[in-house]
């Protein structure tokens, strides 16, 4: 479904990603792990279109989207969520989600008709709110939500665009055990209809959810495979645990 070939990016003298070749199959949950600073967020940016590629190709469902703008990729079914929460803080939960629904349903160059009459828009927004566990908090202003709720909204915004492939950048960032469980449950519910590329540090979540895992270290992919194989992979152990890693 998604193919990366030789994707690279540097910022001045710093090489963030280097010759990354990766492939995500239809319907799988593909986890991307690696130490801090490995370039995972940069890679997500390159795939989603927030960042330009210095070199390499990005293919989505066979089409070359390397030069496509971010909003075009979203229209094609490829959306991302952000590691640092990026929601519409001054709007309510419902308004946040309704925006995402509005983006994919019809033209937004309509200047006269009030959005309030579009019941379908808000019904769907409320449905998504329920799915991400924010049923009772629909009318709360996003800035007043707890951290875990904001992360749920963060993911919800991405899901509301009805992507075929969603790029989740550390959805569980900053979450405690209970909130993480809710997020894992949400992702389990959603995996049937959305392919996922999941960047995460929470190894428990990764090994529970992932079909395959790719490991990114210093901008390069050093291993790809089934969870069990990755867990035993010597290079991976070295990257995470240091040179003298035992069995």
């Amino acid at each position: 479904m998604l193919e990366l070939k030789g994707v690279s990016k540097r910022f001045g003298g710093v090489v963030a990603t280097e010759e990354v070749t990766l492939e995500v199959s239809h319907g799988e949950v593909h986890a991307l792990i690696g130490p801090n600073g490995a370039g995972k967020t940069t890679l997500i940016g390159q795939i989603s279109g927030s960042l330009d590629n210095d070199s390499g190709t990005v293919l989505f469902e066979g089409a070359d989207i390397t030069r496509a703008k971010q909003h075009e990729r979203v229209r094609a079914g490829l959306t991302r969520s952000y590691q640092i929460t990026s929601i519409f803080k001054r709007l309510t939960v419902v308004d946040n989600l309704a925006l995402a629904v509005q983006a994919r349903s019809g033209s937004s160059f309509s200047f006269w008709r009030p959005v309030a009459v579009e019941a379908a828009l808000f019904d769907e927004a409320r449905a998504i709110a329920a799915e991400i566990g924010l049923s009772g908090r629909e009318l709360a202003v996003a800035a007043t939500l707890a951290h875990g709720e904001q992360r749920a909204l963060e993911v919800g915004l991405a899901l509301a665009t009805r992507p075929r492939l969603v790029l989740l950048d550390e959805p569980m960032a900053g979450m405690g055990p209970e909130e993480s469980e809710s997020m894992i449950a949400l992702l389990e519910r959603v995996r049937a209809r959305v392919t996922m590329l999941l960047v995460e540090h929470d190894m428990d979540a990764v090994f529970r959810l992932a079909d395959r895992i790719s490991v990114l270290v210093s901008g390069r992919v050093i291993a790809t495979g089934a969870p069990a194989a990755i867990r035993a992979h010597p290079e991976v152990r070295k990257a995470y645990l240091g040179e003298d890693a035992g069995a």
Binding site: G12, K89, R90, A143
Partner: protein
């Protein structure tokens, strides 16, 4: 009510431009000095203490010197000193700098003052060149903006290149465009269109540069 994130970002950007931008005033003065010198202007009535060192009134090109000195000093201040580092940090991520214990408000207020002071220096240097009046800063201000935009915000090298480009393009445009127009068009059209296009040449130049490089010619990194 929280301040919109874009405002903080804009403020940060504006400050970055301010930190380096006021240096270009000195450079613009220098450029103007070059222009005046090229057009065979008369001597700058130099301040007495310059005269002491050299015995005679210094020709106009000497106005380049203070500009260059200011630019160099400012570059050193921003890029090489601790205070300069704090300023750059504050502009890059205000909250983080605050968390690190930097008194950002005080620092930026000081910076604003330094910038104003530099403007005063520029004004003093410009005094003999232009008439001293209430609005004398306005024309320079706009040109300074154009220079910064063409050169790249927050970039001293960009400011230098930008000011040279603007100064030269403006002078050459004003001098030669009317003549050029006169060669190809009827006198009536040429006499109207020539000066008009010449006066907006720098802005057209800016538009063209920005179309191809929205961050300017030498955008500051980071």
């Amino acid at each position: 009510m929280p301040v919109a994130d874009s405002t903080t970002e804009t403020a940060g950007q504006a400050l970055r431009f301010g930190a380096a931008g006021f240096a270009i005033l000195g450079i613009v003065v220098a450029a103007l000095g070059v222009m005046r010198w090229q057009s065979g202007g008369d001597r700058l009535p130099a301040p007495i203490w310059w005269g002491i060192g050299f015995g005679i009134a210094i020709p106009l090109a000497a106005s380049l010197l203070p500009g260059a000195v200011v630019a160099a000093l400012l570059y050193l201040l921003v890029a090489r000193t601790r205070i300069g580092m704090l300023v750059r940090a504050g502009a890059s991520n205000r909250e983080m700098a605050l968390a690190m214990g930097v008194n950002i408000r005080w620092l930026f207020t000081l910076l604003f003052g330094v910038g104003a002071g530099l403007c005063a220096v520029a004004g003093a240097l410009l005094g003999p060149l232009l008439a001293v009046q209430v609005g004398m800063g306005e024309n320079i201000l706009i040109l300074a903006f154009v220079v910064i935009v063409i050169g790249g915000i927050g970039s001293i090298r960009g400011a230098l290149v930008g000011s040279l480009v603007v100064g030269i393009a403006d002078t050459i445009g004003r001098a030669f465009l009317p003549i050029l127009f006169g060669l190809f068009f009827q006198p009536r059209v040429a006499s109207a269109a020539g000066p008009a296009i010449a006066s907006v040449l720098v802005y057209l130049l800016m538009a063209v540069v920005l179309y191809f490089k929205p961050q300017g010619l030498f955008p500051a990194r980071g």
